[in-house]
Each structure stands twice: as structure tokens, then as C-alpha cells.
Amino acid sequence: MTLSTDIEALPQPVETTTEAALPRASRPVPIAVISTITVVAIIGLWGLASAYALVSPVFLPSPRQVVIALYNLVVTGFVDSTLAEHVGASLYRIFGALIASILIGIPAGIAIGTSRVGRGILDPIVEFLRPLPPLAYLPLVIIWVGIGEASKITVIALSMLPSIILSTSAGVRGVSKDHVNAARSLGASKRQVLTEVVLPSAVPSILTGIRIALGAGWTTLVAAELVAATSGIGFMIQSAAQFLVTDIVIAGIIVIALIAILLEFIARLIERRLVPWASHR
């Protein structure tokens, strides 16, 4: 409907936008402000939609209801566990998997990055695993490992492994030649070159890999809990959905998002603390 006027106005916007852009360039609106307005607007629209009952409250509870659901989750819980217990179960799995994948992934990455044989053996395995959606191998892992915690931790660890392995090998291979040569001319053995130069210089890359792995693992975790679990944040959502308790479903989704953001934030904080030099070279 506004198409014709838009077309007529075509030559002018070029001038108006440049004129309008000038004062804005000198005093730009902070992105954080724009983002805050967006979030507030979405919650506002959501409130309006439920207040005027545009959508049945069964499908879309009001923001108020969700906040109440969240409060009840914290205080009394849902399906036999409080929110803290569900979140605790999920975090236990993800950090168990993280430790396992670090213990396996870093040595594997070093092997790929430093040895032709290691690369030959491990490359095809990593390249096979990397593009697979973790839920594709979850059934097989359940058959092999059973339905308990071990299978979930295994699947999450498998989904984290490729990024840890690849970031380690990239970091190891990216070591500066002068750094290696300097150590050798200062009397370092092959082993010392690895421990004193190659590994430290790979740490920033490894930490980035761990951060990416945490994101991938969190996704896998929730999906795995939807399929096979008796506790955890994903299981809580799945149970609530079966009884059409939509406010808890939405509250659960918000909690998942908040934890993901928190994990990312902590990971970045650790990166900055541990490798302040990464931003200087």
C-alpha cells in the first residue's frame, strides 16, 4: 500500500538520510539502549497480547504468570525437584562432560598439531564426529552405556570434543617459529619446547575452544534431557509441556537462556584473567 509512495520518494531519501545521519554520527545512540528498548517492547507486546486475550492463556500465559511460576519453581519446585535441583543436575552433567572432554580433547589436539601420525589417526575421527548432530548418536550411546548419567555425560562430552580438539591443534600449530627457535637456542629439549613454549602459546586458542564447547554442550544437554532424563532443566520443560503447564515451559526457557549467557560471561572473564597477553600480540 505504501509501495507507490516509497517509489516516488526514492530520490529524496538519499539526501534526507545523509542529513539525518550527520548529527547521529556525532552523538550515536548506544547499542545497549536500543537492545534494552527491544527487550522491553517484546515483553510489552507479550503483556498486551495476553491482557487482551489475543492468544489463549493456555498457549501464552502473561508475563506476570511466568514470574509467579518462576517464583514457585524456586520455592516449591516442579516434578519432585526445586529449580535449583534441576539446574544443579544440568550443571553437574555439563561440567562432568567438560572435564572429560578437556582431558581427552587437549592431548588429542596436541597429537594432531604436533605429529603427522597423530593427525593421520585422529583427523578422520574428528571430521566424522564434528558435523553429526549429537541426538543422532544419543540412542546408540544409550544402548552402549545405559540410560543413566553416564550416557548423558558421554553425549555432551562427544558434542564438546571437536571444538576443543580443533582449537587445541590450531593453537599448537599457530605457535611462532621464532618462539620455538628461541627456546631451542636457549637449551630447551623437545619436551621442554612443548611444555614451555607450544602449550602456553596455545592457551588462548584452547580457552576459546572451551567457550565454544560450553555453548555446544549446553545445547546438547537440554536436548538430551528432553529425550531421556528424570531431572534437569530440559526434563522439567518436557514434563511441564506434557501437562500443558505453559508458564513453567516459558520460565524454563528463560532460565536456560540466562544460564547460557552466564556461562559465556564467566568463560570470557576467565579468558581475560588467564591470558591478558592474548589481546596484546
Partner: protein, 268 residues
């Protein structure tokens, strides 16, 4: 007294992959050179003449295609704390502070933490950076970094210092100050030194001998004795030394030698 000897050394790099299979490139040809503990041999040549290749051979990072490199008659086998290298762009480790960079050679030898920190502190004092030990590498100026690099090389207690344009990246003022510093440090350490530079002035000031490396393939085409380093060591200001007629004459002579090799190359 130790002697580092190049005997008939030549070096070919294999053709670079994916460059239309060009023939192997002869980079150094028939190099004969000796560096004794009481010497600082300066090598000058244009960029691409093979200076870094020659130093990398001395360090043991590369193996000669033919000929031999020995220390006191014993063929070298790869890099060794015998021959510590100072790099043009310092090659300091950013994950370590200045003190721990210098302490690394001690750590490699298994010296306990407290002792190696103390030794590193002594070296920091020797290179005039007593208070900079806790600083991160990126908090140091270019000149300070090279001092740390030199201190780190000294920590290896080498018989030879291999210096690949260590002052090349510094501004003129800092460079002049560092030249006198380098001479003093070298003399105190008792190590022989092989210094690579593309500055004729620097070669003349610092070298007990100056050797010209001419390109394509790299050959040592001239060698002169220079005595100016003794004057600098005795405290004569660098500017005074450079102003002397003898210095100017030798500078012009070396300049002519280097130019003529380039002209021949252009004519060919």
C-alpha cells in the same frame, strides 16, 4: 677461548611447493668464516643476500647443504645453549614477565625457582632494567625489550651470541645508545659474537671485523679489520667516533663494495 668455524658452507633451499617447480635456490655458496671468543664479527649485506640464513645455520636451525660448521672442531648438532640467538623482533614470551623470560634458560637447566629468579634479577640489573622485572612484555619499549632479549641470551651462558639485526627495529636515538650497551655487554660476557646488520655504520662501530655478504648466491666478498669498537668501549662518544676521517673513509669504502656487487647484479 672458543672458535666457531664455517668451512666451505653452502645452502640450498628446496624449491617452494606450488611455484611451478622452480629449481632449488642456492642461497649461500662456499662460506668460510671464523668467529673467536674475543671477536665481534659483523656481517653486512643487502636484504635477501642470505644474512639470516647464515645466522640460522650457525644457530643450528638449518643444516648446510654441504660443508661443515664446528665449535672448537666439533660439528654442531642442532641448536644449543652454546649459541644463543637474539632476534630482530625480540621473540620474548608474552605469557611471562620480563624476569621470567630471562629466567627461562635457568629453568630449562632445572635451577630451582627462587634461585633462578635471583639470577634473573642480577641480569636485569646488568642490562639496566633493575626495576622492570615484573613488567609484561607489552609494557616495555622496543629498546627495553631488546635488553631483555639480550639478558635472556646471556642467561644461557653461551659461548657465542648470534645477533640477527637486534637493533634494526629501534629509533635512531635508542639505537645509538644500544650500540654502546651491546659492546659493553658483549665484552663483559666473554662470548664471541656474530652480528648481522644492514647498517654499514653499525657494522663499523661494533665489529672487530666486518664481512660483506653479496647476494645471488650469497658469498663473502670482502673482509676488513675495524678498530672503532675499542674506542667506543673506552668511552669515546659514538658521535665522535663516527665523525673521524678514518671512519668516514672506511664507511665510503664499504659502501662502494656493497654498491658494486649490486651493480654487477643489475648488469647481469
Amino acid at each position: 677461548m672458543s672458535i666457531l668455524t664455517f668451512r666451505n658452507v653452502s645452502l640450498r633451499y628446496p624449491p617452494r611447493a606450488g611455484r611451478g617447480g622452480a629449481a632449488e635456490k642456492l642461497v649461500l655458496d662456499g662460506i668460510n668464516l671464523q668467529v673467536a671468543s674475543d671477536e665481534l664479527v659483523a656481517i653486512i649485506g643487502r636484504s635477501g643476500s642470505g644474512k639470516t640464513s647464515l645466522l640460522n645455520l650457525a644457530a643450528g636451525f638449518l643444516e648446510p647443504t654441504s660443508g661443515s660448521i664446528t665449535v672448537d672442531g666439533v660439528p654442531i648438532k642442532g641448536p644449543n645453549a652454546d649459541r644463543a640467538v637474539v632476534f630482530q623482533d625480540d621473540a620474548l614470551y608474552p605469557w611471562l614477565d620480563a624476569r621470567d623470560n630471562i629466567a627461562l634458560p635457568f629453568k630449562l637447566k632445572g635451577v630451582p625457582l627462587a634461585e633462578r629468579r635471583e639470577k634473573a634479577q642480577q641480569l636485569l640489573e646488568r642490562v639496566g632494567l633493575a626495576d622492570a622485572g615484573d613488567r609484561r612484555i607489552w609494557e616495555l619499549s622496543g629498546g627495553m625489550r631488546q635488553r631483555v632479549g639480550i639478558a635472556r641470551a646471556l642467561a644461557a651462558e653461551p659461548r657465542f651470541l648470534l645477533l640477527d639485526e637486534p637493533l634494526g627495529a629501534l629509533d635512531a636515538l635508542t639505537r645509538t645508545r644500544m650500540q654502546a650497551f651491546l659492546l659493553r655487554i658483549k665484552a663483559e660476557s666473554g662470548a664471541g659474537a656474530l652480528l648481522i646488520t644492514h647498517s654499514i655504520e653499525e657494522a663499523l662501530l661494533l665489529g672487530t671485523r666486518v664481512v660483506v655478504l653479496s647476494p645471488n648466491p650469497g658469498r663473502l666478498t670482502a673482509e676488513i679489520e675495524a678498530g672503532f669498537n675499542a674506542e667506543v668501549l673506552n668511552g669515546t662518544p659514538v658521535a665522535t667516533v663516527k665523525a673521524s676521517p678514518l671512519f668516514k673513509r672506511m664507511h665510503a669504502g664499504l659502501n662502494g663494495l656493497i654498491q658494486s656487487t649490486t651493480d654487477e647484479e643489475l648488469a647481469a
